[in-house]
Amino acid sequence: MTTTAPTRTAPVKMIRSQPARAPHGARPNVAGGILSGLWFVIVAIPLYWIVITSVRTQQGFFGDHPLVPPSNPTLDNYRLVLENDFWRYLLNSAVVTVSAVLIIVVVGYLCAYTIVRAPGPRTRRVFNVLLLGLAIPLQATIIPIYLMIVKAGLYDNLLAIILPSVTFALPITVLILVNFLRDIPGPLFEAMRIDGASEWQTMLRLAVPLSRPAIVTVAIYDGLNVWNGFLFPLILTQSPETRVLPLALTSYQGMFTINVPAVIAAVVLSSLPILALYVFGRRQLLAGMTAGFGK
């Protein structure tokens, strides 16, 4: 899977560069090599421990050496997690992520498109206000947001997660989209205009298709953040009906108590959807994660 053509999968320009074989001449990069070996161990061992622990029995967990794979691996832990409302939490997470990303992309795109296509003091002010949001730690707003959500009757409703999540994703989204849209050559828009296309048509037929890579990027980046978000669900929802996966992990920990293998199995299961995405679209995903910060 590492051999896919780079031209097809590198959506954002700064990620791409000329392929280089041994970029620094013949001598090997010793420091980098040692460090990367060390880092490999640091990353791989916890991951390895997570995987083998998730297939241990509870007795095995108490008795076996923690680094030796279990002699009698079991999938019971996974079954236990799946039997305890895992699908509902997964669905909640999916609903929250998909709706939030849809709103973010539509709202963010309209905003970014306007900022780029209607330059002027007003749009500039809009952009500056939104960029201010990059510096606001979202934790700092949680008490008022909680109060507002409660007063609006949205407490313990998935909308309570979606709406603030959208808000805090907008600044970076607009920033990325603006940067991308600026690079679309002006004559293309001019040609559309001469053809008599309306502004909507120009946006939908010209700008959207051309900025698809940026849209994908934004969707991935924001989707991952919303999917993994913890604070908003923690404070703005309470019942199992509205529980999303990261929050479910803590409740599984409370439920399974000392059955650590089951807790770890829940950790693995909650990460699987994203890991699957990673396996099938690694380059796209990684490019998406850093695209906004390439400059």
Partner: protein
């Protein structure tokens, strides 16, 4: 909506789409970011337990913040964590990123593993490490590993470093990715010229790679430093700010004061401090780094 747009103006000065299209984004932003900021300021002058309605108490919370409440400690911890995580992550990320910029196949395979932590939620990472570091049943409880079994999360002198390590474990992949992208943009010709001049590896790295990465360094550092104000999820699950108050950084202090101690007013005052800190930090970095990232992006390329 666009009917009133003027057509046929010059290619530069055309009216384009209506400014109203930015309205949805602004409404979101105003409702869930600007209004809450104002409300936090207002709440910081009230007393509210979470039950009933807030009552105005004037400067009481701010006085408490400066006297009885241990804000200084939380602030100091936050700064320490900021500096420590930056100092650990930056060199490692740069070296790894430059290394992974090479396109050898084995490096690509290494990279597949490197980036996995990036995908896991903070909740998943915290719960996994909590169990992994358990002194009695965790990873290091096995025979032969006793020297590593150090009560990493329970010892107030050690927990801070442990938390910084786990943060690094989670975020170094992201910054590595940034530096990998940056390193791949360094023109190959620079290295070739340097090699002809007989510059060694270290010289090349110091004279070419690092200067060429300066914008990436600024970006990555900004994200790390501002991000340090928001390490909430991980520490909340790992330590709840403990043992004692050894990891009670500002965001956690705010949460515990508000939602566990039921002092929403005092917690709001802490939140205001947090916002001011975030703003000051962003401004300082963008000024100190000699160029404004936001400006440069506004003006395009």
């Amino acid at each position: 909506m666009t009917a009133h747009s003027e057509r046929g103006a010059g290619p530069v000065r055309r009216s384009g789409p209506s400014v109203l299209l930015t309205l949805p984004a602004l409404v979101f932003f105003a409702t869930f970011a600007i209004v809450p900021l104002g409300a936090a300021v207002w709440l910081s002058f009230t007393e509210w337990s979470g039950l009933g309605d807030p009552t105005w108490v004037g400067l009481d919370n701010w006085r408490a913040l400066l006297t009885t409440h241990d804000t200084g400690h939380a602030l100091w911890l936050t700064v320490q964590l900021m500096v420590l995580t930056w100092a650990v992550q930056t060199p490692v990320s740069i070296l790894l990123g430059v290394f992974l910029a090479g396109r050898q196949r084995y490096r690509e395979i290494l990279a597949v593993v490197y980036f996995v932590p990036l995908l896991l939620s903070s909740a998943a990472i915290a719960i996994a490490f909590r169990n992994l570091l358990d002194p009695n049943f965790g990873l290091f409880a096995g025979p032969g590993l006793a020297w590593l079994n150090q009560n990493w999360l329970g010892d107030p002198d050690r927990v801070f470093v442990t938390v910084a390590f786990i943060i690094a474990w989670q975020f170094i992949p992201f910054h590595t990715l940034l530096y990998q992208g940056g390193a791949r943009q360094v023109p190959q010709s620079l290295y070739e010229a340097a090699a002809i001049d007989g510059a060694g590896r270290v010289r090349q790295f110091l004279a070419i790679t690092l200067p060429q990465l300066r914008y990436t360094i600024v970006t990555s550092s900004t994200l790390m430093l501002v991000g340090a104000l928001t390490y909430f999820d991980l520490i909340y699950i790992l330590t709840q700010g403990g043992p004692g108050n050894a990891t009670r950084i500002l965001p956690l202090d705010m949460y515990l004061t508000g939602f566990t101690g039921n002092q929403m007013g005092l917690a709001s005052a802490i939140a205001v401090v947090l916002v001011v800190l975030g703003m000051v930090l962003s401004l300082t970095i963008s000024t100190a780094s000699g160029f404004s990232r936001m400006e440069s992006q506004l003006d395009g390329e």
